[in-house]
């Protein structure tokens, strides 16, 4: 049965049959994905997978999710032509998908609302989540407040400092924020700590995973809830430009905003898919988060994927000026898209991203998140490569309010 009167249809969640299909029963995308977790968590992952299977075929669930997306998150988000910015891309036409205009200011709200509804179906009353930039933490705290769920957010101590404003937002929304002081004190360590909490409290707690990494079924669930970005954008760009774009560009940390906009275009073979990772201070000195472009295949946080690791499998700490891209792993579906050649991944340095950040602000009056600025910087290069006739769709995954502290320091404002 298909629900058609919302922006979301049941086909958007169930059986979209892209690239042969959803991950197989072991949660594999080719050789990537799977489950590498303590046995104690397997029943909980099975429970989440089974409930999600029911939910995505349940018109009531889809209706409720759709209702929240429209009346709470502010969907559909618009497309915006950015001609003055495009002049710097060799005249190629760049169109932004405005996820920055959603409630809470980033695409993260889509996944969070879906999973919070799933949490209620699971009969659980406590949400935990990891956060890097703080956007996923804010979104999770928001959904918890909306649905009356207890909420604990794990955030690396370094990130707490970088994103102090978001820490305050989470607290105001009623969440407890736990600064994680072990390891690199960033996103990867926050994920470790969230898993430790989950295994101890799994009977009443849902781990609201924020990206398309982690053990099966998280990569599939998070993708499906983020997929609305591309579903909308595909319809909208056909309306706006009368054709599909030549390329879709998105920033890639864990990879949820990128998969969200890519997925609806995977079967459109004429549409190039470009993901932009954080090149940090440059790959030469090793201070980057170039997981797909410089990493190797391994296991991190429960999933086989590309990882930044040394020759003995120890995770190498990543670096990016953008907390949301500062992660040494990546979703297994991106690993798969890379290896099959369907998507291409590139690095964007801190400096390139900050240039694009300032450029969009000055030419279009839009202050993007530094994460999204990596996609913008990528689009500037891509536009020059593809020429003035090209049409580029860029996922503006979030807004830059949270990044003002970083910008003030970087630009001496």
């Amino acid at each position: 049965m298909t629900v058609t009167d919302g922006i979301l249809t049941s086909a958007d969640l169930a059986g979209h049959g892209v690239h042969g299909d959803d991950p197989d029963t072991d949660g594999k995308f080719g050789v990537f994905g799977g489950r590498y977790v303590p046995e104690a968590l397997i029943p909980a992952l099975d429970e989440v997978a089974a409930e999600y299977d029911k939910a995505r075929n349940d018109p009531a669930f889809i209706g409720e999710f759709d209702h929240l997306l429209r009346t709470y998150a502010g969907r559909p988000t618009t497309l915006t032509d950015v001609p003055r910015f495009s002049e710097h891309a060799g005249g190629a036409r760049i169109v932004l998908k405005r996820e920055d205009l959603t409630h809470t200011g980033a695409h993260k709200i889509n996944n969070v609302l879906g999973q919070a509804l799933l949490t209620k179906r699971l009969g659980k009353n406590r949400l935990i989540a990891e956060t890097g930039a703080g956007q996923h933490g804010v979104a999770t705290a928001t959904a918890a407040a909306l649905m009356g769920l207890e909420c604990v957010i794990y955030m690396g101590a370094v990130d707490c400092e970088r994103q102090a404003l978001n820490v305050a937002r989470m607290k105001l929304l009623g969440a407890s924020v736990v600064p994680v002081t072990n390891g690199s004190q960033t996103l990867k360590d926050a994920i470790n700590e969230a898993f430790r909490d989950w295994v101890a409290n799994v009977d009443h707690t849902h781990y609201l995973f924020g990206t398309i990494a982690g053990p099966h079924p998280f990569p599939e669930i998070v993708r499906d809830f983020a997929r609305i970005i591309g579903v909308e954008a595909r319809r909208q760009i056909l309306e706006l430009a009368g054709r599909l774009p030549d390329a879709v560009a998105a920033a890639v940390g864990g990879g949820s905003n990128a998969i969200g906009i890519f997925h609806a275009f995977i079967e459109d073979q004429g549409v190039q898919l470009h993901g932009y990772e954080a090149g940090g201070r440059g790959k030469e000195n090793g201070e980057h988060a170039l997981t797909l472009t410089e990493g190797s295949i391994g296991v991190l946080h429960g999933s086989r994927t590309y990882v930044l690791q040394d020759d003995e499998g120890q995770t190498i700490e990543s670096h990016s000026i953008s907390a949301g891209l500062d992660y040494p792993g990546v979703g297994p579906e991106h690993a798969w898209l890379k290896d099959t050649g369907r998507a291409t991944y590139h690095g964007i340095t801190d400096a390139e991203a900050m240039d694009a950040f300032a450029l969009l602000a000055r030419t279009e009056g839009i202050i993007p998140a530094i994460e999204s600025s990596h996609a913008l910087a990528g689009a500037l290069k891509l536009g020059r490569e593809l020429g003035p006739e090209a049409l580029l769709l860029v996922n503006l995954s979030g807004r830059g309010d949270k990044d003002m502290g970083t910008a003030m320091k970087y630009f001496n404002l």
Binding site: R35, Y36, E39, L41, N192, V299
Partner: protein
Amino acid sequence: MTTLQTVFAKAKADDRAALIGYLPAGFPTKDGAIAAATAMVESGCDVIEIGLPYSDPLMDGPTIQDAVHRSLVNGTRIADVLRTVEGVAKTGAATLVMTYWNPIDRYGADRFARDLANAGGTGTITPDLTPEESGPWREASAQAGIDTVFLVAPSSPETRIKAVAECCTGFVYAASLMGVTGARETVSEAAEGLVERTRKQTSLPVCVGLGVGTGAQAAQVARYADGVIVGSAFIRRLLDAQDEASGLAAVRKLGAEMAAGVRA
């Protein structure tokens, strides 16, 4: 090389549980780990698990995280882990490596199994390797003649216990509680039920770990399990010690207390 089979047969003949101690390689130092593990054996441990330090130990509590972090800061490499195994195996204890999967994956499953066997290691415990993903490792281990131990948990339904036990040789590791490693005030009541449920699925020995920190707790667990696994409590003694000698003395004292416990 002393095998797990020998250890459990001997413990059974003595009508007691086996005592299994855990310590990460490279902690408190590379040589200090061998000295501490030797002290654990001399004070009564039948089996030693040498931890392979990993940057993202997501099922470990603060004590083991701390020790592992120090070990990595000490520059511990897999070659050091294997050297530690070699040193400890010489004491006559059955010596296992406990490790998250990625370091083996990266090192190469066949190569790691072979090198571990050559170092005198008797097998591995891999807490994040599920039956579904364990095929290559079980093949490599069988080829090298070493045991594979996997974990069951209180949350495991019978079908999972069966699947995990079928992948195990040596023994089945029953995690006593839902949570991370670390000594607790009391041993979870879930442990006994889990051991009972596991015995229905396998004739292998069943050992209990997570949360055992005192001789009295060891005695309590020894009443229903074939082996008692102690990790964080040993590490805590070393972390709290002023110097190496007092650390080793504290380890010996705890080892003796635990050894008395499994014989109570």
